[in-house]
Symmetry: C2
Subunit: 431 residues, 2 copies
């Protein structure tokens, strides 16, 4: 299974999805760049999230708070004191580890590691004046009153945002899973105390539905209920949605019941009233907060793991008849390229380009490719997860039809060029 | 004119467009948060930029490089040495200023400032290990070979990205104009040396066309050609697109001819070959780079300044007949809310909501509002720049028509409910 991750890392680099950050300078641990297909996949995930949870709902409004926040925010939130990992260092090889995560690493200077006592290591990145945020939640708490008033929402309602966050992880590993710079999508959903447990269940369901809707297989998901004694200091209940990654079953997303901890802490530390006034009941109170969160990079990695298949050569190419073939079974809405338009041979490029131009005005994510043999080009599109290839051949000049090839079934159909758009529109089921 | 900026700042906060960051803790200089309408406006600008320059073009591919880069990147790029401002400090009041920008500030301890000698102040934010990027360009240079190969683009072609950047400005000012955290949209367009001057002119035109297409008035734009002796060390030519802000005519966007400076510097420092191999001519060379850039927040501020109008009361409200009225003339594609759906009185809410739900499935950005008098609700929609209000009244129950009110002309038309979608579709001219 670890082998599968290696294959994915290599595929991601070869196809320009995910590249180690600053690679020409030897990289920078746990930081990745996204190439053209990678950023397209990532943006498709983000777009769908925003459509589902912000534009598509009446009770959630979007916002974007800054990465840099006044240091007092991190004091009041408890991060300055508590956002720590226990760090140990080997006295011989000087490598650093999380105390609870020593894996099976051998000391490079031979034998066993000789470890220092654990010490607390704050994993927020520090600048002269403050920290880089390790999550986006705090901005939604500090701006809560302002946003509640200007958006004229009534409880229950939520504030949502997506954005870059940073954690100076002691050990980065498992590709996109444990990184130091990442994007997180979070909602803080404010409810009346007493309504929190019901809302928690609703969000857990909405969260899992979203993950399934991305095309991730249900059998690869699991829920993990945090035991009462292991809960974070602010949480009444936390449930993770876990995914069966090749390196183990690990957290993909989660829902936490943060109670009124955050609004209360920020009111106490800032001296600003962060209570909500309920116009109907004339009560004033700190709402409880249900917080569903998911990491975009983890989601992306799960989607890739789920969609990735290596199989024996099924498409003949002159160059490599027997090489194994890789197919990415992305759902059409997530696929970086929706349709590839291919002339059978270069001679037919001019005619084929007309079809390409026409489709490109409908959906931006269309690719034209005239390089190499047709088999090789099919393989390439399978590898980047393009659901449909449209091929223009010599017959097309006469019968005004093209061949549409399905990535998953490899079935080929002849379709009238005049009907192509409607055909693809139905197949892709996206606008 | 400075007065106009004050009015805009106050409007932006009141309507939840732009809020000072960490406000409940006294803020954090030069950092802003975006509320629900602000993030919608910002996302609409970003979406249009990506559609125009990435999805809509065959010769530009997108990417997303990380904010954290190996420190060696900033050494090779010249930033570690050269990304400095001259800083002076007043020995009496201890305030810090840029040496060339002392404005007319009076010393708070009386009389004139007594200034220290200027010293170099690097404006990159520093972490223990590296810096926060002050621009996104370097990621497109360090990943150039990787992206050129995996995207199989041939010169001339461009790499585009948008992303957060940070500059530790000594004096932040003019609202969103000079901030410490911002988003920048940049293209690095790689051309054959010799083709650079022509490409420069094409990009300057494309850049200005884009700004005009956002709805910014031509008479508020100006080009500024940097004099040869004032060019940055890497630049052969730089032209700014300036906007007439209320606080002066200032840079909004720009195009620079960076020559082969960056690829060459990174090749020398990293030891990795960053040349391009031209398959047709069999030549190997460092391409020249034309770099069009624009700051998203500056663009947003220009759009707001351009769209902002304060005028004598034109809409009667019971509460405030004579108060001045604010109208934001956003173009439909940028407006945070496209259509507001309003029952004349609360009693009609149920019927009106059906229309709202129906429109919301077409365009997400629809608002329903049943609060207060109809005049007050029109005013509110004018203030957030909603192009059309749809009002359902008692006649609507009988004649199945609604009133559509145009924000700019205040003209009201009765439209068949069954025709409403088509009518708005034509008016908004967006999908």
């Amino acid at each position: 299974m670890e082998d599968k991750l290696e294959k994915i890392v290599s595929w991601a680099k070869r196809r320009g999805f995910i590249i180690p950050g600053s690679e020409i300078y030897g990289g920078i641990g746990g930081v990745y760049d996204f190439g053209p297909y990678g950023v397209a996949l990532k943006n498709n995930i983000k777009k769908l999230w925003w459509q589902t949870f912000v534009s598509g709902r009446d009770d959630v409004v979007g916002m974007e708070s800054a990465i840099l926040m006044n240091r007092k925010v991190w004091q009041a939130s408890g991060h300055e004191k508590g956002f720590v990992d226990e760090l140990v260092e080997c006295k011989k090889c000087h490598r650093r580890f999380k105390a609870d995560d020593l894996s099976k690493e051998k000391c490079s200077s031979g034998g066993e590691h000789e470890l220092t006592e654990p010490k607390a290591f704050n994993t927020m990145f520090k600048t002269d004046e403050t920290y880089l945020r390790p999550e986006t939640a705090q901005g939604m708490f500090t701006d809560f009153r302002q946003i509640a008033e200007t958006s004229r929402q009534k409880i229950p309602f939520g504030i949502a945002q997506m954005g870059k966050s940073f954690r100076n992880e002691i050990n980065t590993k498992d590709f996109l899973f444990r990184v130091r710079e990442f994007e997180i999508a979070e909602i803080e959903y404010f409810v009346k105390p007493g309504d929190d447990e019901k809302s928690f269940d609703e969000w857990l369901k909405a969260w899992e539905d979203f993950v399934l809707n991305l095309g991730i297989k249900k059998e690869n998901l699991e829920q993990y209920e945090h035991p009462k004694e292991g809960l974070a200091h602010y949480s009444k209940r936390t449930v993770d949605i876990q995914y069966k990654f090749p390196f183990g079953t690990k957290e993909l997303a989660g829902v936490a019941n943060r109670t009124d901890f955050d609004l209360k802490s920020h009111e106490e530390a800032s001296g600003k009233d962060l209570k909500y006034f309920d116009e109907e009941t004339k009560e004033k109170y700190w709402p409880y907060v249900i917080e569903p969160t998911m990491g975009i990079e983890r989601l992306m990695l799960a989607i890739i793991c789920d969609a990735f298949e290596e199989l024996e050569a099924r498409t003949e190419t002159t160059e490599a008849k027997t090489e194994n073939e890789i197919v990415l079974h992305f759902s059409p809405q997530l696929a970086p390229i929706k349709v590839a338009v291919l002339p059978l041979v270069k001679k037919l490029s001019e005619e084929t380009k007309k079809i390409y131009q026409d489709l490109k005005t409908c959906w931006g994510d269309i690719e034209f490719d005239e390089s190499g043999s047709i088999g090789r080009r099919y393989r390439r599109q399978d590898e980047i997860g393009t659901p449909y290839c449209v091929t223009f051949d010599f017959d097309s000049l006469e019968d005004k039809k093209v061949t549409v090839r399905d990535r998953d079934t490899m079935k080929q159909e002849r379709i009238e060029i005049s009907e192509l758009k409607n055909f693809l529109f139905r197949k892709l089921n996206i606008s």
